[in-house]
Assembly symmetry: C2
Homo-oligomer: 96 residues x 2
């Protein structure tokens, strides 16, 4: 099965970087111990006023593995506490 | 100088994939011949209803090289014809 690429764009207002990063680290700790987790890379815009200040790109062994982690009770509780608007979806590389 | 990562999220309504892909290919042809271009990968969501149906991730040798290509007359003219809402910005990897 092809690897799944989770891309999650976050709207983080200027001055809220520390709060966002603390939450991101907590989410990473929850996800990286789940079956099928491969890697993650948090991207920060060079422009502090970009619509999406942070974009997380994570790789999972499969979309099913990611969905199972996403819907776990502990991650569901974590997500409910995220105060930043975000747009997660699973992607595949379509063209290079 | 660190490589620059351009991430560009596109809102593409259901049924407009062919039109979008044709435009993306044209943009790629313009960019890949500019100095400092390294690579690009167009990501498509597995969910056709995702807010961002396509996310392009391109690597450039530097943010300056990308900005020079972005502001070239031919690319400026190309961008003016893009009908899909999109959110480009240059990123660096902040955490892994």
């Amino acid at each position: 099965m092809a690897q799944a690429i989770l891309i999650n764009a976050f709207e983080v207002p200027d001055g809220h970087d520390d709060e966002f990063l603390e939450g991101w680290e907590e989410g990473k700790r929850l996800m990286e111990r789940r079956p099928g987790y491969v890697s993650t890379a948090l991207h920060r815009s060079l422009d502090p006023t970009a619509r999406f200040r942070y974009i997380n790109i994570a790789v999972w062994e499969s979309a099913d593995a990611f969905q199972a982690a996403l819907t776990s009770p502990e991650f569901t509780a974590y997500r409910a506490r995220i105060r930043f608007t975000h747009y997660p979806s699973v992607y595949e590389v379509a063209r290079t």
